[in-house]
């Protein structure tokens, strides 16, 4: 992978209290590509995703062994500023969760809390640019001061993507971003992911294997807390190395 490597996870074991959720997982995520994490419920793919911006730490009693590097730096070292890490590694959640504020304030939130800009014109510019990047600007440009919760589900999710983009991350983590959306909204999100990968490294958890096949360049298959296989998406879906992967993608279980 060489210079192209963005995230390097090595031999990670992860525990919630006494329960082990990940077993010796190693995964290399290439830059500016989409890596999909698939697997049945409870296989550890969401846990893995949340390691990458240390969101797991909000739960008391967790423990991590192994090493997680982004751009060659250990994100679990004492020198890592977790606030700065989360700014650089954005996250989109399964359930769209815009703040109950205006559309504008939602996008501006991250800019303000990170002190990226206090200048009204500059924030205006960022809000417009990120809403455009999230393919939402044309739909909301006349009502950016309306409550975000007045948007449709698909629009809310794209707003959450815009909100994440506004703080200039270089990695985007997506936790089943389209699982609660109708097919048309899902298609829009997938199209957006396709555009965003020119600029961002994207890791996406999905239950939907067709979606993984459509949007991703690499796919990693998780089962019972272990990473079974990771390869080029096309290869994984046509000629998987492992028997378990084949069973899963052909629908024999999960």
């Amino acid at each position: 992978m060489g210079d192209n490597l963005k995230i390097d996870v090595r031999n990670v074991n992860f525990f919630y209290g006494a329960v082990q959720a990940l077993y010796d997982v190693s995964l290399r995520v290439p830059q500016r590509q989409v890596t999909a994490l698939i697997g049945p419920s409870g296989c550890g793919k969401s846990t893995f995703l949340r390691l990458l911006n240390r969101m797991n730490e909000l739960i008391p009693g967790i423990r991590l062994e192994g090493r997680v590097e982004i751009d060659g730096k250990d994100i679990y070292s004492d020198q890592t500023d977790v606030i700065e890490l989360r700014r650089r590694v954005g996250m989109i959640f399964q359930k769209s969760n815009p703040f109950p504020m205006s559309i504008y304030d939602n996008v501006a939130y991250g800019v303000r809390v990170n002190g990226l800009s206090g200048n009204r014109h500059e924030i205006d510019r960022i809000v417009e640019a990120t809403l455009r990047s999230a393919a939402l600007w044309d739909e909301v440009k006349d009502r950016v001061n309306r409550p975000a919760l007045s948007l449709s589900g698909g629009q809310q999710q794209r707003l959450c993507i815009a909100r994440a983009l506004a703080v200039e991350p270089d990695v985007l983590l997506m936790d089943e971003p389209a699982s609660a959306l109708d097919p048309i909204s899902t298609a829009k999100i997938e199209e957006l992911i396709y555009q965003l990968k020119n600029r961002y490294t994207i890791v996406i958890v999905t239950h939907n294997m067709q979606q993984a096949a459509r949007v991703s360049d690499e796919t990693a298959f998780f089962l019972s807390g272990r990473l079974v296989e990771c390869s080029k998406t096309k290869q994984l879906f046509t000629k998987p190395d492992q028997r378990e992967t084949e069973d899963y993608i052909t629908g024999r279980f999960g």
Binding site: L58, N97, P100, N114
Partner: protein
Amino acid sequence: MKRTIDRGVVALCLFSTVLIVAMLAIILGDIAIKGWGRLSWEFLTAASSNGMTEGGIFPAIYGTVVLVLLMSVAAVPFGVLVAIYLSEYALKDSYLYRATRIAVSNLAGVPSIVFGLFGLGFFIQTVGGAMDRALYGGNTVFGQPSILWASMTMAVLTLPVVIVTVEETLRSVPQDYRAASFALGGTRLQTIFRVVLPQSWSGVMTGTILAVSRGAGEVAPILFTGVAYFLPFRGALPPPSAPNEQFMQLGYHVYVLATQSPDVEATMPLLYSTVFVLLALTFLLNISAILIRKRMRAWATT
């Protein structure tokens, strides 16, 4: 036989229910009918005169308002801070969290007269006494019953109401919002003050008004800590005009009119009207709590 028992039980339930409604109706009706007649502008704006058989109750209204204002200024910020700690910071199985929980619920169960004694012992004798020794060379300035200590005592009494109400609203803010804020690089403090607390204003308001309406009605906590039997106007306003002055209060005034009057018959109409005003005030505060909460909820979701 079975049928008869069945009907009997239903009848008993119905009777009890009607009785409850009737009791409230009788109390309110009696007070409204007998209290309404004596009500006038003069009654609301003048001090009582002629051995409490004439005049009005303004000093008591004024004292009550000052009392609940000072009490809120002390209780609400303090209560909100405790609620934030309990909801946002404390680990649910930590020793401190459980101790605070127990303290809050027990504080709510302490008889109000005990708060009065606590106020006398702690605020007046200990804190006030120490202030006098340190600042006023031993002269009695703060080491005596006053509006300040009465308000502080009342604040301690109403604190559990504020804490419990605010904590509940903070907890009802969806975890998703906190997660979103953290994921955007927000600190815990930013998350609380920019996302969680703005979602909780209705709870803070409700807690405040519930505390105020409780504080407006309680008498026991202020008995030893600052309420006065009778205080005339001094200039344009009645006391208190300084934090270390005593004050009159509606609930206590009712007690005084009912038991300490030289001429019970002559005081009776005044007593009814005073109770009416006290009830109206409490009722008004509760109604406004409900309205404010409704409004804020509607505003947050549209």
